[in-house]
Symmetry: C2
Subunit: 689 residues, 2 copies
């Protein structure tokens, strides 16, 4: 048996089914002398009772030193075959190396070499633990979801998370099949080896770009009144809050990471503009070994997360900084470390999360969005947050349209019921509720207050009609439907339906997280895949250009269309989301999303997005049919200033083809450049629209 993720040893009774005398391999950040004292008591007991052959390796360190980054699979596979006895050791190592040649040759000779090195180093670092009969700890296995106070979450979701869902009776679940939101926060996956720490609060510019780009909402900023910090841990950093609407004398800015929720992707450090002039490679935030900082930082987080959010009415939410003080209602998802999709979702939930319904296409976003038993979608302090559901891959746009039509009908019913009770409720309140457009935070707050007042009145009236309105009262709030999905859905499998919704004119908002490939199923070519990219079904480079979903959407004439890349121009992304939300018809935002399938270290996702825009590979623009003539189409990026290869050849999806089919690659690059030029020319035509 092998455990590749050290923190699993506290969460699962891994050795429950290991036979006496069995072999156990643990990936641990400790050597054979240190590791025993870090095992929980119940695991020490199992090992001793069963006389287990116990091996340890710091696979993460070996992988790093062998230049494999976070990819520990070769290391752990080598160790497994070295000790499992499934094959004779020498033969096993030979076969592993053969497999490396077969698996990685298409990624280049360098990758093969690094993996060979990792194999050799693995064998050197694999250690057998000579444990004695000494139980040093007493911990029992902790129940899952222990942080929750909700019985259903602890008992039912906890049991599923522990891998024992089959033991639950059907009656344990809610009759309507819904699951509570706000549950990913109790998982505390803790998968990072390194986490960012706010090292220098004075170097920090308080720009909140780190908060914005974080795929997991694991780094947050708050501005709080100084008096709220009196009980804070001494080591909690704080600094006078800069900028409007803050008062630097009475309010402090605090930036905090949750080490147990961070995945260590390094994007926050990469995006941080606050570099030290004195110390090389030192920024306001820097990665630190989690083991060294987690106790202190966990305590900071626990204090920090309970601090109140700043008054939404006062924040300048049309700036990246301001918007990032809004509480995200999408946090700690199971998306890949460095995911380029989730920051878009997070931002939408920060802006509108308490009043949206989400229809989610099948794909990565349905997996990390509804990764049962937990979900990263959560609620604010008023208990409001997104309602979320996933239908099929092929019908998500229609699914969302259906949600919208049902919602509109319910809103109409609620308004009609309210009108009918005017004489009993009072004209002023009815009018105030019906006329509130909820465009500003102040209006939203007022509506919540009015509805609370209405609820009290209705309870007093206590007639059949008032009870019925009480059932519908939440539909007196403005709510909107967002339709989420990836390019496999939007460009391909669900495109027929998407086009139908675009043609409907209905007021729904669509977010396409474009990774340019079927990500969730392992990297198959989609119509979003660019010319020259290697993907399954076009392994020697896609011979045909990516289609322009944006141009197709613009052709409808009455659809708000934006093409964005948060890493390249975060403010443009924010504006596009605000405009899409405000647009009274159908809106679609096509969001460039770096993905592990692109084949580069995702901490460079921001600079790659910048290059994508600078080379014209991914132009930024917004098309607003309601803008005055001449201003409908805004090209938000500049004419290309560098060849497209400056972008492409940083990603192995493109360089793979160069290595294997150099001549073909040259031809594909030419096509790609041509494509970029033609695209720019086409978009330039729209300037006078």
């Amino acid at each position: 048996m092998a455990c590749h993720q050290f923190n699993f040893i506290y969460k699962y009774d891994l050795l429950e089914k290991l036979k006496p005398g069995g072999t156990f391999l643990l990936n641990a950040p400790y050597n054979k002398e240190q590791v025993w004292s870090h095992l929980p008591g119940f695991m020490q007991q199992r090992i001793m009772e069963r006389n287990i052959e116990f091996y340890v390796i710091d696979a993460s360190r070996v992988a790093r030193e062998a230049q494999l980054g976070k990819r520990t699979n070769t290391v752990l596979q080598t160790c497994f075959f070295a000790i499992s006895g499934v094959l004779e050791k020498a033969e096993a190592i030979r076969k592993i190396k053969d497999a490396i040649v077969a698996s990685y040759t298409h990624k280049g000779e360098q990758v093969v070499k690094m993996n060979f090195k990792a194999v050799d180093m693995s064998l050197q670092h694999l250690q057998k633990v000579d444990y004695l009969d000494n139980m040093t700890n007493t911990e029992k296995l902790q129940p899952m979801m222990a942080g929750s106070t909700d019985d259903f979450v602890k008992a039912v979701l906890g049991t599923i998370l522990a891998g024992k869902g089959d033991e639950l009776p059907v009656s344990a679940f809610s009759p309507d099949g819904t699951f509570p939101s706000g549950t990913a926060q109790f998982e505390k996956r803790g998968i990072a080896d390194f986490v960012p720490v706010w090292d220098d609060e004075h170097l920090c510019t308080q720009c909140n770009k780190c908060v914005n780009i974080c795929p997991h909402a694991a780094i947050r900023a708050k501005v709080v009144s100084n008096d709220l910090l009196t009980g804070a841990p001494d080591s909690l950093k704080r600094v006078p809050a800069k900028g409007r609407p803050f008062n630097a004398e009475t309010e402090s800015y605090v930036l905090q990471v949750s080490p147990q929720d961070c995945t260590g992707c390094d994007l926050c450090v990469a995006v941080c503009p606050a570099k030290s002039k004195e110390i090389d490679d030192f920024k306001a935030i820097n990665l630190r070994k989690k083991l060294a900082v987690e106790d202190v930082e966990n305590s900071h987080w626990d204090f920090f997360i309970d601090l109140p959010d700043y008054d939404r009415k006062l924040l300048k939410t049309n700036t990246v900084k301001g918007a990032q003080f809004l509480r995200p209602l999408f946090e700690f998802s199971g998306a890949c470390s460095g995911c380029g999709e989730t920051p878009y979702i997070k931002l939408i939930t920060q802006l509108y999360g308490d009043s949206i319904l989400i229809a989610n296409a099948t794909g990565c976003s349905s997996i990390y969005g509804g990764n049962l038993p937990t979900t990263p979608y959560t609620k604010n302090h008023q208990g409001c947050g997104p309602a979320w559901a996933n239908s099929l891959f092929e019908d998500n746009a229609e699914f969302g349209l259906g949600m919208h039509l049902a919602l509109s009908k319910k809103q109409a019913i609620a308004a009609s019921l309210l009108n009918a009770l005017t004489s009993e409720i009072g004209h002023t309140l009815v009018e105030a509720i019906l006329s509130n457009t909820e465009e500003t935070e102040a209006q939203k707050e007022q509506q919540r207050e009015h509805l609370s007042e209405l609820a009290d009145i209705l309870e007093k009236i206590n007639t059949a009609a008032s009870k019925r309105l009480l059932d519908f009262i939440s539909f007196l709030r403005k709510k909107t439907v967002w339709i989420f999905g990836g390019d496999g859905w939007a460009y391909d499998i669900g495109f027929g339906g998407l086009d139908h919704v675009l043609a409907s004119g209905e007021n729904v908002n669509i977010l396409v997280m474009d990774t340019e490939v079927y990500s969730n199923t392992g990297g198959q070519t989609s119509k979003a895949t660019p010319v020259g990219a290697s993907a399954k079904f076009s392994i020697s480079g896609k011979p045909i250009a990516k289609k322009s979903l944006a141009l197709q959407a613009i052709s409808h004439g009455n659809v708000y269309v934006a093409q964005v890349a948060m890493g390249a121009k975060d403010l443009q992304t924010l504006k596009a989301i605000e405009e899409a939300a405000a647009y009274p018809g159908t809106s679609i935002i096509i969001a460039y999303s770096p993905c592990i399938e692109h084949g580069y270290e995702l901490k460079n996702g921001v600079s790659q997005q910048e290059k994508a825009v600078q080379t014209g590979y991914w132009p930024l623009f917004r098309f607003n049919p309601l803008a005055p003539k001449g201003k409908k189409f805004r090209l938000d990026s500049k004419a290309p200033i560098a060849p497209v290869s400056d972008f492409m050849y940083n990603e192995s999806r493109f360089t793979r083809v160069v290595k294997e089919h150099p001549e073909l690659a040259g031809n594909l690059l030419e096509q790609a450049q041509d494509q970029v030029d033609v695209q720019w020319e086409r978009l330039s035509l729209f300037k006078d629209l």
Copy 2:
């Protein structure tokens, strides 16, 4: 029992199941004195033997006189209820009038009045036939498909056509489920009351526009050597052939209608430019009562159709006139009289019919295209013609792509087998076959000859390899796949797949026959339906603009795209088809198609198409990605010269809304005009592409 179509009396034993003393109503172009002598013997016998109450009405005449055009339903319904005894007569008439109010009020008061008038006139013209016991004729019921010499066609298809398909065993059908083509020619439906006759061969300009626009290929032109006309009926008109490549001294032009295949739509007369200066309303062709001319014209047709076609190599097929001397391989379909779709299909079969495979979406074109047991797709004198199949509504583009991929594979296999046999076949012939691109008629003829030669050689070689190549020999011909369908398929239900094929870059050609509504299922709104049009699901006028399938297709960048309207500019249609066929990637032609669902007399389909183009409602253009820069996009129509209402308000799909919702209609018209303006502006942007 009622028979609404007079010529059915010769084809079916209608009275077989009528009980003794039953009532029979016949719609006939004869009065009670005349009709008896026109009944076939077997029908006279049935009537006499069973003492049938026999009524006659000339419903077509009553409908015409009541300004209902060809719509006889109100007339015949009235007669039915007047004599059937289902209801008391006065009550029946009252209920019919109520029904007219309910059914036609939305079409306007005038329509209601005309139908009321028809009811009254029907009762006046309904006559009881006082037949005596005198059988004047001796005909027996003729077998169906009697014109064919093929046993399968006569026995199996004939039985199905007679309505007795259930009596056929499964073994009667071909094991692979295919049906022979070229069978609609034996149906001889003869549904027209009036047919065109070539009255004045000297007035005729020989432009062939009548031949081009005919939806049923029922009017044809040939140029033949004079000596071939020596045995012609004396009354067959002919005139010296005009223009190149003809020799006016030795060759004659003959224009001939098939009265039994014509549906009397009047389009040929409407499009005829040759008006007499002396006689009002007199053209080179004019409608004549079929009864008066059919005997003579049938004999003309029988002679005419056996005359040879002109040598394809010599014809100027890039002109409308020249192309219309090519034999149509799509003839006498069951499409509606005046159908705007079928002339496009007919033209494609004239140009390329002997070497195409057609994938047909479900819809009108699959019904009239594969109206089993017969099909209008037919073969030339060499036995070659289109292969045709229909899959599902939603997957036709993929179906066609699959045909193309299979075809390409078979072509590659054939070439490979041929290459492998080079030493036995001879290098010269192999090279000649493989290098022939079959772009011209001469090349095509040469390829046919070479393949015939090859077949002889292969039979002599007589090895396993030569036999295998013989199996594949037809794939050494150039063949292409055409994908046919309507707007319901292309804009809506099959759009996801269509887009996928457009993005494929594969060399298939797509024809979208755009009637702007689901025609075959009775007029439901599609994404092709224009703003302001009344259709099912948008009965008060569609509130949203038609989507631009052309712009969406152009956005792919590497797709040949044309928007055409044959009635407005036939030469542009011809050019677009030729360019699409020649384009080495994916091509799509979006073809405006007048339809009975538009609500006007389809004989005006040509002038309506002209108005659609002149008002900018339907701009004509072609986008050829391979054309040099600045010439990729050709706008083939001029800037709008009249308001769009000049087009719209000739069609009841638009005027219906004006009558019922005048204010709404004003608003919709404004939107429609705005839409036209925006569309023109957008297209104008492309001029520099």
